[in-house]
């Protein structure tokens, strides 16, 4: 990009970013409610795990913005190779 100093990332930085990306997509996938396939608004995180509070109506809810981001997840996860065609076409996701 014009005017912005260019810097190539070294292998360690690339590896770190790849690991971060993988963890992000993995975490996002866990935000989808198992029954409806819709993403939840709030989830607890404990010990690196994402915990959906399935039986708590105060937390287990969703909104149009959540659902919209859920669809963007589908697009990005497919483009980045984190979602197989088989999984993509499953009822839960699509």
């Amino acid at each position: 990009m014009k005017g912005i100093p260019q810097k190539s990332l070294n292998q360690n930085e690339l590896t770190y970013l790849k690991r971060l990306e993988k963890a992000t997509f993995s975490g996002f996938e866990k935000l989808f409610d198992r029954t409806t396939g819709l993403p939840v608004d709030i989830a607890s995180v404990s010990g690196g795990d994402v915990l959906i509070l399935q039986d708590d109506t105060n937390y287990s809810k969703t909104s149009p913005t959540n659902i919209g981001l859920g669809f963007l997840y589908l697009v990005l996860a497919r483009d980045r190779g984190y979602l197989s065609q088989k999984k993509l076409t499953s009822t839960r996701f699509v």
Partner: protein, 152 residues
């Protein structure tokens, strides 16, 4: 996800703001007790759906998204001419996405309302985040959009 989305209770095609996910079994998620429709959230959703349909062109998913979007008419979020005589739209926050969606849909006149694309053409006002008040145009005339800054 799309199948559930199609089953949700809506108001004139727009989603309510919150749906319970838990304890519903196979039934579609139910609207929460606090029932309201948000232009902000529906704008967010529809922008994302439009992007998804673009990414999955010529698929069953894109066709279903198009059918879902076709049920919406963003006039719902704006004052109607006969009653208020003008549009009054708060563009200070990110509900302006809804305005862009309205323009993208290029929805035509409905009843006595002017096309939304006419009422929202002031990119300058969008850029500046100014409240927008549009006077009712005479038939066949171009619309006039006086801009008021936040200081006014």
């Amino acid at each position: 996800m799309m199948e559930t989305l199609e089953q949700l209770e809506t108001h004139e095609g727009f989603l309510y703001n919150w749906y319970y996910l838990s304890g519903r079994g196979k039934k579609p998620p139910e609207v929460t007790l606090n029932r309201f429709v948000s232009s902000l959230d529906n704008g967010d959703l529809d922008i994302c759906l439009m992007a998804t349909a673009g990414a999955f062109q010529q698929t069953e998913l894109s066709k279903r998204i198009e059918r879902f979007l076709a049920k919406k008419d963003y006039h719902f979020f704006f004052n109607n001419w006969p009653f208020a005589g003008f549009y009054e739209i708060n563009l200070f926050n990110h509900n302006r996405l809804s305005n862009f969606v309205s323009i993208a849909f290029a929805q035509g006149s409905k009843g006595n309302s002017a096309p939304l694309s006419e009422g929202l053409i002031s990119l300058e006002s969008l850029k500046n985040g100014c409240p927008l008040r549009v006077e009712k145009p005479a038939k066949g005339q171009l619309i006039r959009i006086p801009i008021k800054t936040a200081a006014e």
